[in-house]
């Protein structure tokens, strides 16, 4: 074999191992007994693997509740974001209405505004609406988004107009066309937008940290950040918490990679 191929593959192997090391180490030390991961000399694998840390998290740290909160919120955000963005994205691509181009341009321009600019007044708005410290406050920013609308629009542009015209000729209403013809054709981008929203909500930290004060309402990342302040020394326990936070989204990504990457490429060609 050529030395160059050997060099390149060796390089890739090293880079791959370095990238995965923190995640593998997290998994391995989450199965160690308390204190084992800080004993000298350091060992890479647990002597006798145990689920002790996971049991501790569920029985004493109440992580089951946080897991449930994260699942519920991420699912709800996904459904809401699909409801709002898909119909709007389709309309921007295929339906005529006054001011369509102008509104779309304004929205694209607004993509440069970082969401943190809106954060403080949004907090006040939700406070006056009585939504702070409820799930509603977490869901509001995920409901509809410019990026989601843009993503759906780019994909919906590929639907042939003739198809929609034919259905109109046959007397179908706009809503029937949307439900029977458009939605099935948009399925791949629905999956893409769904994963984006689910992952985004699951991993979001700053906003739930701001709007949730009751511990019972915490999402996994917020709970993990607060747990890690209390349990600075309990590494094995914290690693188990990290596994529970990381694993669900990692599995979701592994299963639906194709859709995720497609969306990433559409999304990055804005402007």
């Amino acid at each position: 074999m050529k030395p160059r191929a050997l060099l390149l593959n060796g390089l890739m192997l090293v880079a791959g191992l370095l990238t995965l090391f923190p995640l593998l180490w997290m998994l391995s030390s989450s199965l160690m007994t308390p204190g084992e991961s800080s004993a000298f000399p350091l060992q890479v694998l647990p002597k006798s693997p145990t689920l002790f840390n996971y049991r501790e998290l569920f029985s004493h740290a109440g992580i089951g509740q946080y897991l449930l909160n994260s699942v519920l919120l991420s699912c709800a955000a996904t459904v809401l974001s699909l409801l709002f963005n898909v119909s709007a994205g389709y309309a921007f691509a295929k339906l005529r209405f006054q001011g369509r181009e102008r509104i779309f341009k304004v929205m694209l321009g607004a993509l440069v505004i970082p969401s943190q600019v809106a954060m403080l007044p949004l907090f006040l708005l939700l406070k006056y609406m009585g939504l702070v410290n409820t799930y509603g406050a977490v869901l509001v920013p995920a409901m509809a988004g410019i990026f989601g609308i843009f993503l759906v629009r780019q994909y919906a542009l590929t639907i042939p107009d003739a198809l929609l015209e034919a259905a109109r000729m046959d007397g179908a209403s706009e809503f029937q066309i949307f439900r029977i013809i458009v939605l099935p054709l948009l399925t791949p981008i629905l999956v893409t937008l769904g994963i984006f929203t689910f992952l985004g909500t699951w991993n979001d930290f700053m906003w739930p940290l701001i709007v949730l004060t009751d511990k019972e309402l915490y999402t996994l990342p917020v709970a993990l950040a607060s747990l890690s302040r209390e349990h600075v020394q309990d590494n094995e326990l914290m690693m188990a918490g990290s596994v529970l936070t990381v694993l669900p989204v990692l599995l979701l990504f592994l299963g639906l990679q194709r859709y995720y990457i497609q969306g990433l490429l559409v999304g990055s060609v804005k402007g």
Partner: protein
């Protein structure tokens, strides 16, 4: 006429949500940054006063704000090029005809991107631990003395940069990979016929052809890196001696810890203005380069 109404039924819900929960707050933030909105105004809006540019002027006289700005710029100026170099390197490896198991490695390189930042920050805080962290353990095996990564003001930001590059490089790698795949093969063949070696092919074909991708990736990364928050929040709480307080961390503390919402809004706008300005500079620079 009827189809107009149907179209509005499709867009109105989303537009309403975005207007009420995004455009309105952005406008309100601009107004709020010109008021002394604090905990007293939070209790009773009658305590609110218009103060013009006072928040901005005070901000410029606050040493911690300058420190936060400096820390954030450090993070951007060192972090973005490192992150782009790692992404491009990984993309070139994955694109090479000589490498095996591309799908597998692509997934491996991308895995950190989908992980929750807090969870992996917890892992890294542990990997970086002075006494029993794996990184120092590895360094000591190589004969390098242990570094007190997160407790030494000199090393805290580099440690966070290292972590951020690891977390993010997979994202840009995918975009670079798509860019590399769109470069026509005959350009390389022509260069090969002209006697260009690997390095020259990279320098005179790949690099210029990647120009637009590179511009986009650097704008996206830069805006992302300016929004540094969760890493210092989880790993260092802004310390040691405020060496990892970022602009957004400063805004969070002003707003949600001290309830100085007017001043915090001013911070948000200053950050936005800086990001906007740097993006414009990059675009101008890229245009100048083309002409």
């Amino acid at each position: 006429m009827n189809s107009q109404r149907a179209a509005w039924c499709f867009v109105a819900p989303a537009l309403l949500v975005i207007s009420v929960f995004f455009f309105l707050p952005v406008l309100a933030a601009l107004i709020m940054s010109l008021t002394d909105f604090d905990i007293y105004a939070l209790a009773d809006l009658r305590n609110l006063r218009f103060v013009g540019l006072r928040n901005y002027i005070q901000l410029l006289q606050t040493p911690l704000f300058w420190q936060a700005l400096g820390n954030t710029l450090y993070f951007v100026v060192v972090g973005v090029p490192l992150s782009i170099a790692a992404s491009l390197g990984a993309a070139l490896l994955l694109h090479s005809r000589l490498t095996w198991f591309k799908g597998l490695f692509r997934t491996a390189f991308f895995a950190p991107v989908v992980t929750s930042l807090v969870a992996v920050a917890v892992i890294w805080r542990y990997l970086l631990h002075t006494r029993y962290g794996m990184i120092n353990y590895g360094l000591q095996e190589l004969g390098i003395p242990a570094i007190d990564w997160l407790n030494d003001p000199q090393w805290a930001m580099p440690a966070i940069i290292l972590f951020a590059v690891w977390k993010n490089f997979g994202y840009n790698m995918i975009i670079f990979l798509a860019g590399l795949q769109s470069i026509p093969e005959d350009l390389y063949e022509a260069a090969g016929l002209d006697g260009a070696g690997t390095w020259q092919q990279f320098r005179f074909v790949t690099w210029p052809m990647l120009g637009p991708t590179l511009l986009m990736v650097s704008i996206l990364s830069m805006t992302g890196y300016f929004q540094l928050f969760a890493e210092p929040y989880v790993m260092t709480q802004g310390g040691p001696v405020q060496s990892t307080v970022s602009v957004l961390y400063f805004m969070y503390e002003q707003g949600f810890k001290w309830w100085n919402l007017g001043a915090a809004s001013a911070v948000a706008f200053v950050l936005f203005a800086i990001m906007f300005g740097v993006t414009l500079l990059q675009l101008r620079f890229a245009k100048g380069g083309e002409v």
